[in-house]
């Protein structure tokens, strides 16, 4: 647990970078500090490992004031990753990663073996990469080395200052995914600084939104940040499409899928037309004997065919997009629906068997219900936002 207790940082030139900050960062979680440029995120981060000393207040690590710790020893227990990587140009990749273990007195061979383990952990191939120098790596690879180096001594706390800002969007997304994967295994207490709300919402268990002047605007889970922004500043900051993005946090299981318009291929056209009319559905999903989707039949077209023929012989429109209600979010279901020609998407289970189909109406109802439930949870007293 990292605790900021009434922390203020005033630089010698009078700039107040952080203003009376109170913040708890729980163990084993990713806390993202986000906010516009100059709002004191980096300063906040650096007060944890004492690269910056507070002007007032205390920073506690597991209940102990970091100001009482020996700085070098404190820092060896806190991983630190920065945007510019700060890799040592004169050390090979493995020796860069082995830095802290060597500092703490581990034998070189030991430390290098550990470095190679970590290279595997962050997705770098030791035989080809271990002996390279940092300038012989791509930006994304350098950033991976930076993460491995920070993890080498297995510190409980990891500080990351815009770790992925310098790489292109595709690499950034991959690195974010890797961080999430790593964290699932390592359970570090991670404090990550970014100015990118998307990144904050994607990787954060908790997000602290700063406003200019180094004051805290809101600390909350990403869902609640999107669902219940504390004020107009946060609302603007998290962005105009927060409604859509928020759907990522609602699971698609809540969606009431249509099942009566799903018919086996052996159904006769006459029966199919009856079903379609009764359900008021212009499209029927045709499934095979294994309940896998074959395609969509348009009720209007069926009427021109012989009534006793089966759906197996009918012209079918492509299945379009599928999603898995158990695993995917409402946003994925919405996407799949919007992108399908029939304005319906197919929900399937892990085996690819059809569970049911969506429609705009069904999605709208599910979104409303999910939002209401979330808002009730966010604001138990009732009343508006």
């Amino acid at each position: 647990m990292i605790t900021f207790d009434g922390v203020t940082k005033r630089y010698p030139d009078g700039t107040v970078a952080v203003d009376s900050l109170n913040l708890d960062i729980p163990d084993g979680k990713i806390m993202v500090l986000v906010g516009p440029s100059g709002c004191g995120k980096t300063t906040t981060l650096r007060m944890i490992n004492r690269l910056v000393e507070p002007s007032a207040g205390r920073v506690l690590l597991d209940g102990r004031d970091v100001a009482d710790a020996n700085p070098s020893r404190l820092r060896r227990g806190i991983g630190y990753v920065i945007q510019q990587t700060g890799l040592f140009p004169h050390r090979t990749v493995e020796d860069n990663i082995a830095t802290v273990p060597m500092l703490t007195g581990r034998k070189k061979a030991d430390a290098r073996a550990r470095a190679r383990e970590l290279m595997e952990l962050v997705g770098l191939d030791p035989p080809t990469m271990a002996r390279r120098y940092p300038h012989q790596l791509s930006g994304g690879q350098q950033q991976r080395v930076g993460v491995a180096r920070a993890l080498a001594a297995d510190p409980p706390v990891l500080l990351m200052d815009e770790p992925f800002s310098a790489v292109d969007p595709i690499v950034r997304a991959a690195l974010q995914d890797e961080l999430i994967g790593l964290q699932a295994r390592l359970h570090k207490t991670v404090v990550l600084v970014t100015h990118d709300v998307e990144e904050a919402i994607k990787v954060g268990d908790l997000v602290a939104v700063f406003r200019p002047g180094g004051r805290l605007a809101q600390v909350d889970s990403p869902e609640r940040l999107l669902g219940a922004p504390a004020d107009d500043y946060v609302r603007d900051f998290v962005g105009f499409d927060r409604g859509i993005r928020r759907l990522s946090f609602f699971r698609a299981v809540s969606l009431d899928l249509a099942t009566d318009s799903v018919l086996p291929a052996a159904t006769t056209l006459a029966d199919a037309i009856t079903v379609g009319k009764r359900a008021g559905e212009p499209w029927l999903l045709v499934v095979g004997g294994d309940r896998k989707p074959l395609g969509w039949a348009a009720v209007a077209d069926l009427e021109s065919g012989p009534p006793d023929a089966t759906l197996a012989g009918a012209d079918l429109a492509p299945v379009g997009h599928t999603f898995r209600p158990e695993a995917d979010s409402l946003r994925a279901a919405l996407d799949a629906t919007l992108l399908s020609r029939t304005e319906r998407a197919v929900g399937v289970d892990d085996g690819g068997q059809v569970l049911g189909t969506t429609s705009y109406e069904r999605l709208r109802d599910a979104i409303r219900a999910a939002e209401e439930a979330a808002d009730r949870a966010a604001d138990p007293v009732g009343g508006g936002r």
Binding site: L51, S72, F88, P89, L103
Partner: protein, 236 residues
């Protein structure tokens, strides 16, 4: 001033070389020593001074002004002044050459240390390096290419300036210039000249090779500012 006849082969008597090997060799060796000792002493002094200048920023401007002033002094004048204190010995040559080396080396040590980027410095601190450890394990190794660039300039100028020592009787390749001039015997002057250049090139190559060996990480990568001074300044 000098009346050297620029002429063809007629003036070069190749046979003089093997006949006088026994005097050529010791003068060359002495010149080499005078070329190497001052830069080495200079390095030993420049490292702590440079480190101090980086640690205490206000120190650097006065140190830089002082060393520029020293660099502007004619070496012969320095020799003459020093004779009063150190006599006609090696020290009288070594001291001024050391001062000149310092003028080149201090800025290079400072530039070398400053070439270490802020993120690297900060990362080192954040990983728990103490200041001394950071200096020894990170900053100094990274300064090596720039320091060696300064060393090359210092060594080459010392080798060439060492010949002036002969004017006050300190043994160096300068002997052949003075003797050749007095006897109106160009061969000797050419030999002295050629050997001076040879020594300079040899030392320079050794330094370049040692830099490559010391800094395998710098291969194929441009580091830091270029040496402050180009080739040794003529006309001292």
């Amino acid at each position: 001033m000098l009346r050297i006849r620029l002429a063809g082969d007629a003036d070069m008597q190749w046979s003089w070389i093997p006949q006088n090997w026994s005097i050529i060799w010791p003068y060359t060796l002495d010149n080499l020593l005078l070329g190497l000792v001052p830069p080495l002493i200079g390095l030993v002094i420049a490292l702590p001074v440079g480190i101090a200048c980086v640690a205490r920023r206000w120190l650097y401007p006065p140190v830089l002004s002082l060393s520029s002033a020293i660099y502007a002094l004619p070496s012969l004048a320095l020799f003459v002044v020093l004779i009063a204190y150190t006599g006609l010995g090696n020290l009288t040559v070594i001291i001024p050459l050391t001062l000149f080396s310092l003028c080149v080396l201090i800025p290079n040590v400072v530039d070398g240390l400053r070439s270490v980027s802020e993120p690297v410095r900060q990362a080192a601190t954040a990983m728990g390096f103490t200041q001394v450890r950071r200096l020894v394990q990170v900053e100094l190794p990274l300064a090596v290419p720039v320091v060696i660039a300064g060393l090359r300039v210092a060594v080459v100028s010392s080798i060439s300036l060492a010949s002036l020592g002969q004017l006050i009787g300190v043994s160096s390749l300068g002997y052949f210039f003075i003797d050749g001039l007095q006897r109106d015997f160009p061969t000797e002057i050419y030999v002295g000249l050629a050997l001076t250049i040879l020594l300079a090139v040899l030392c320079d190559v050794i330094l370049v090779v040692s830099r490559a060996l010391l800094t395998p990480w710098a291969r194929g990568r441009r580091i830091g500012p270029s040496p402050r001074l180009a080739w040794p300044v003529a006309g001292r």
